[in-house]
């Protein structure tokens, strides 16, 4: 019985061809120029950054490009202290939801250049970019965000984003 094969590990892979679509494309082209380009909902006027194709609340296509940031506010965060298969960042690290100034939707990014215990809801942060020659159309052009040293944002100013 002990010789029976009960389980085998079989790695599988799938290759995707990803089409970014027009809205994400203007955002990704912005990243190639070191800019954050969002999109405004023509109905509720809120700004999506990164942009989606539609404003789910209003059910309409997003409209004009809006340049936002580059600074932002940490609305909430997680200190990741668990290792897992496929992880690319050394633990512990802070995965934060950052509300870029002028945007109305938070995005996920990494916080560094401070102790994990110093990270706070409301902390003001700015992006740190890779050398320009390494830029790709990706948010990974920013290695991380770091504290700006400005006073923290008032909780009420971002509590509607949680």
């Amino acid at each position: 019985m002990s010789e029976d094969v009960l389980r085998i590990r079989t790695p599988i892979g799938i290759h995707y061809r990803y089409s970014a679509g027009p809205n994400a494309s203007s955002h990704l082209r912005g990243l190639m120029e070191g800019k954050f380009i969002g999109k405004r909902c023509p109905s509720c006027t809120l700004v999506y950054m990164p942009p989606r194709s539609t404003c789910a609340k209003c059910g309409v296509l997003l409209g004009e490009d809006v340049e936002v940031g580059p600074k932002g506010t940490i609305t909430t965060f997680c200190i990741v202290n668990v290792a897992f298969l496929g992880q690319t960042i050394k633990i512990p690290y802070v995965a934060a939801t950052i509300l870029i100034d002028g945007a109305d939707l938070g995005m996920q990014h990494l916080i560094q250049e401070c102790e994990t215990s110093d990270v706070r809801m409301g902390m003001r942060v700015e992006p740190v970019w890779k050398p320009r020659e390494e830029w790709q159309p990706s948010l990974a052009n920013i290695t991380h965000f770091r504290p700006t040293g400005e006073p923290d944002a008032d909780f009420d100013s971002f509590s509607g984003q949680l």
Binding site: L6, R7, I12, Y16, Y18, A20, A24, L28, C41, C44, L46, V47, Y48, P50, R52, C55, A56, K57, T75, T76, F77, C78, I79, V80, N81, V82, F84, L85, G86, Q87, T88, I89, P92, Y93, A95, A96, T97, D104, L105, Q108, H109, L110, T116, M121, P137, S138, L139, A140, I142, F155, S159, G160, Q161, L162
Partner: protein
């Protein structure tokens, strides 16, 4: 509803981190055989099968309902697959219920399962998205910032999550099918549990489980003739919303609040805390107990944690929550929602054994999934609706 519907059979597997003794088919069949036995019926009397599980990538077996046809004796019968991520067990039971209430089928078998040991869910839920920043770290990494928001907003003290976790792990010791049987937890010990996804401690997280549950649902004439315990479905509700939109309330999503309001209206319930006798709520991370108590209307906003602190949700409390040990003690993802629905039915049927609450007339089953975006709920009762 054109037809009334009742749960006349419930069967679940022994849940464990690795059920190496069975394949997916064997696991599912174990739950099905127990459900059919408790419903005093056989496979041949089943009109249709409704099956759900979490995303296929969790095991890497695509469309497993096709390969399960033989194990379920489903050849030639209608088989319906449901996909709503972690809420799928609840959504699947509701779809099965609709097969009966619509009058199309008389006796329907519904199944939820997951065999997490066959794959790697943490990996499957952390795949880097194109052009983004790969900071994702599984479900814990997703939900922990939302929990931090709740703690900040409500002013809850830090030990509430551990209180929920100790309660559920202790309750699980009364449930022979539960995955984790850990009788020795104390609040003090729990507070020393390591922070995995700060502010979420290890004890405040669910395990990875292999397991399955099956229910037999029947129309009124069959349920009336059934010589055994039954739970009548009083109301069901489902809602969903996108994961990301500007101004989204992630702590208490609108879809959750709307779903609960719809459920209470359909069930004729005006005060959930007064009228519900037992709750089986989807709590994969301990802090979601107070969060859902508020979102579902059991507790006022920002006060859910006080219910935990005051022991309201203990098995002996005014509103017993997760007497089975809940998702925190057993998490075969695709089965977890149906386990909540099934355990709620068991409380009404008085078949919950050691974790039975006295005098349950109405019980509530709940599931959520995705990025807190899919919701499924039902109320079952001892009396006909």
């Amino acid at each position: 509803m054109a037809e009334r519907c009742a749960v006349i059979g419930v069967g679940q597997t022994k849940h464990a981190s690795c059920r190496a003794d069975v394949s997916i088919a064997g696991l599912v069949r174990e739950a099905v055989d127990r459900a059919l036995e408790s419903a005093h019926t056989t496979m041949t009397e089943i009109d249709a099968i409704v099956i759900g599980k979490a995303p296929d990538m969790l095991e890497g077996v695509m469309m497993p309902e096709l390969y399960l046809v033989d194990a379920l004796a489903a050849a030639g019968k209608p088989v319906f697959r449901v996909h709503t991520a972690g809420s799928v067990g609840g959504a699947t039971a509701i779809v099965a219920c609709q097969h009966v209430t619509s009058g199309v089928h008389r006796r329907v078998l519904t199944i939820g399962f997951e065999k997490q040991s066959d794959g790697n869910a943490m990996w499957a839920l952390s795949v880097p998205l194109p052009f983004g920043m790969p900071v994702h770290a599984g479900a814990g990494g997703y939900f922990s910032p939302i929990i931090r928001s709740y703690i900040k907003r409500s002013g809850a003290p830090g030990h509430i999550g551990c209180m929920v976790a100790v309660k559920d792990r202790t309750n699980a010791c009364k449930n022979p099918y539960a995955h984790l049987h850990e009788p020795d937890w104390t609040l003090e010990k729990a507070m020393e549990s390591p922070m995995l996804w700060d502010p979420v401690r290890m004890i405040e997280t669910c395990p990875s489980s292999d397991g399955a549950i099956a229910l037999v649902l029947a129309n009124e004439s069959i349920a009336d003739a059934h010589d055994g315990p039954k739970a009548w479905v009083h109301a069901t509700a489902m809602r969903s919303e996108p994961t990301q939109f500007a101004g989204r309330n992630q702590v208490s999503p609108k879809a959750s609040e709307d779903c609960a309001a719809d459920l209470w209206r359909k069930a004729g319930i005006t005060s959930p805390i007064e009228e519900i006798d037992a709750v089986e709520m989807y709590v994969p991370f301990a802090w979601f107990e107070p969060m859902w108590l508020e979102s579902l209307g059991f507790a006022p906003k920002d006060q859910g944690w006080r219910y935990v602190e005051d022991g309201v949700t203990e098995m002996s409390g005014r509103l017993p929550v997760n007497c089975s040990g809940g998702v925190l003690s057993t998490n075969p993802i695709g089965a977890s929602g149906m386990l909540r629905f099934g355990e709620a039915a068991m409380q009404v049927m008085r078949t919950a054994g050691e974790h039975q609450v006295d005098g349950v007339r109405k019980a509530f089953g709940h599931a959520y999934g995705g990025g807190s975006q899919f919701f499924a709920m039902w109320v079952v009762g001892a009396d006909k609706p």
